[in-house]
Symmetry: C3
Subunit: 335 residues, 3 copies
């Protein structure tokens, strides 16, 4: 996820205002692979984006306002490069991965716009598969009443505050998003964590004003033992009486340019979703040709029971009470 | 609205053609706020783009062709950053704010593509609120027969000519746009003005080939008294017998990094729109953190009568024969 | 089609991996004209994109991985600049002209994503009008059973291989694209050619798994005699019993900054399309103001018979068994 820096020429200075030191960055990721998905007894060969990292195109920049203050913007959109579309779901390029303007200083950062929710961010930081590809933690995250929250990953019309970076390892953020007449967009979420030496641990909680209030809680951490980085998380989503409880155990083992990854995810339903359960394991191998370019292979399998129909990737089959298995070999290039 | 300049490497020169000195500029504005709109008796809290300046993303560049000649392009699209969309109305990024190619020289500039109409440009230059936010002149500009002109702001398939910049303060432009089978796109417009010392004054007239021909006339000017810049305009739109007559009085008072803004707009209907009237006043305060970054606050109110239902901002209520009131506090960052 | 180079700052180096020398390029073309189309007896005046070259906006880059290896990406989308749309057919900017990630080296290049098909590429390289504008070879390329192949120009989900550039003038590529459940996207194509001195010659063949298998074959070549570059091609498309056979003869004559172009295209149907024939001639003049900027004029006419209704440009008339005539005068600027 390296960046190209465009030199910014400030063509003049505002009367009485300090001149700005600034940069605008163009950045992106093109990640494509060959994938085979077997849901139940049906197999399909595919070419897919977003498997090692999420495909993206973006522009971002910061301006030094003096006195420790800064302003910044961030425009980042998804891409489906297998078909040349500028979104994850078809259509032209947009900036729905992140579209924000910020004002920051010693007090932290205030951020407005469309952004990740704090409660989601906790799940993706502590996943060896980064919520991407056939091994993603998200594969078994939602079904039935639990899938109705459009704010699971990101929120529109959000106002966020981030703690400053100098609190001795303590970090945190709080976010609230306006519904503008749509309850499903009305969300509040908070995240707090601590990172020091080999340890990183964080908790998050968020709620959305659905007809039945939707709540998402997560506690997660990682321990970098040097030869390997171990990760674990415990995650619950509630929508009225319906509940989904998940835990993850994962590990990333770097060996020079190589990386080995493993994760196990257990996903259990409760209330109306009682018994709608699945577990998933995933194996990955990454060969880093450079910091920006990697070849990778992933293999993952989900076992569904109690009516669950989770899949490691979209395809024509049906995995209800059955297995979903997938593997993919691809190339990720970032700029 | 500052710009980042990308160095352009011309990788060779055409046989017999002078080498080009060139630049390509990436530019944009992200402007987001918290807004409260009360239309009639209903209030809604919102996060909104486009309130101090119109949100945008663009690329533009010029090439020096030698002998005073130049070629250039301009691609500029809107953004709804509160939801990450690349247009003002949803969907992917496009270049519908301006999408042109130009050839210029001592004779002036010839410009092809989608562009502002001259008749609109007169209204936005002489408005303290720049046609943006709750205080925009546009809020009371159209209803009934008058709203049918899609060419009020911009035109597709346009051919334009601009006078050169060395005519002792005289400036002007003429534009015609092809309908390609759609009368509502068939438009011709002209604008001429003079700027010298503290004075800037301009007139414009445009017509569009609707079933009932649509005409838009504007005369406007500003006088910069140093401590304050005063603006006024008189604007008429006609569609058959229907007419809307508007005038604006505005002032901008700069105080160091601060700016105070005020405008009053009177909008009267005539013919079938007789008595469909409104007036609007708007107050604004801008704190310029730098040339590129500003905090701002706006307050505006419209009073409708005779069946008018103009609003300072979209929302769930109904302002027919009632007030529409809004305020917004936001952050604008340009790059 | 010159490019602006953005300096790429690699912000660190991966442990054990050579640092990258890299660049990201922003590039594009804005080409607009005034056009008159007469189909049968109906004439329309238009402003049109894509007439000398296809309008486009893109980002591309390569990374030197050391040892002759490289990685690269290419994002290129169409634009309709007469209306500011970021595609050829309306809607936001996408990257459907090309959207690929590559890994290359002494062995050649492996390319994944959406890309031109090899069988199409042969037709466009050997056309004086580059498959653009009123004189395009494509005008008479498809009707009836032959128009059903969505893979005629480009393919989604493609895996391609290109020969390396050091084979003494021999070049070639092979591509296969996955259907992912849609037969019309399942395509395989190969192209091989040789360029040396004034000669360039290439053959291509491709097939798509439609209900009736679709095949596209092309053999083409050019001979640059110095004062003029002569081009010819022979092209067949088959869909079951239906067939379209085309040949082209063309010439480009450069005179300093000027270029004169001529092409003649003959298009014959066979099987169910027997007698559905047309021929087209096209004249062009280009005045290169610089390597990047050109003024141009094109004139072309199609004569249809046997029920053919080919047109030199879209418009309101009907050219069945009649003539379609068009001319256009425009400005192309590339960056």
């Amino acid at each position: 996820m390296k960046k190209s820096l465009l030199a910014l020429a400030v063509l003049g200075t505002f009367a009485g205002v300090a001149s700005a030191q600034s940069s605008v960055t163009l950045f992106g990721i093109v990640d494509l692979n060959g994938r085979s998905i077997k849901n139940g007894s049906t197999t399909q060969k595919q070419q897919v984006s977003n498997s090692l990292n999420s495909n993206r195109l973006g522009f971002r920049g910061t301006e030094d306002l003096g006195g420790g203050m800064f302003a910044g913007f961030w425009l980042e959109g998804a891409m489906n490069n297998d078909s040349g579309e500028g979104t994850a779901t078809g259509g032209g390029q947009n900036w729905q991965r992140r579209s924000t303007v910020s004002l920051g200083g010693r007090f932290g950062e205030i951020r407005l716009g469309r952004d990740y929710t704090p409660s989601f961010w906790n799940t993706t930081v502590f996943d060896p598969f980064g919520t991407n590809g056939v091994g993603s933690f998200l594969n078994t995250a939602g079904t039935g009443a639990i899938t109705t929250a459009t704010t699971y990953v990101r929120a529109n019309n959000s106002f966020g505050y981030f703690l400053p970076g100098n609190l001795g390892g303590l970090y945190g953020q709080v976010q609230t998003s306006l519904g503008e007449g749509v309850d499903a967009n009305k969300q509040t979420s908070v995240r707090i964590g601590w990172a020091g030496g080999p340890i990183n641990i964080a908790v998050s909680t968020g709620k959305t004003d659905l007809a039945t209030e939707y709540t998402h809680n997560n506690i997660a951490g990682s321990w970098n033992a040097g030869f390997a980085n171990f990760m674990a998380q415990y995650d619950t989503q509630e929508a009225g009486a319906a509940e989904r409880v998940m835990y993850l155990f994962g590990v990333v083992v770097p060996v020079g340019q190589h990386e080995l990854k493993f994760s196990y995810v257990n996903s259990k339903g409760d209330g109306p979703l009682n018994g709608v359960d699945a577990d998933q394991f995933a194996l990955g191998y990454i060969y880093n040709l450079s910091k920006r370019t990697a070849l990778y292979g992933h293999y993952a399998q989900i076992k569904n029971k109690g009516g669950a129909a989770f899949v490691v990737g979209a395809g024509p089959g049906n995995a209800t009470n059955d297995k979903s298995t997938g593997y993919e070999v691809g190339l990720r290039h970032s700029f």
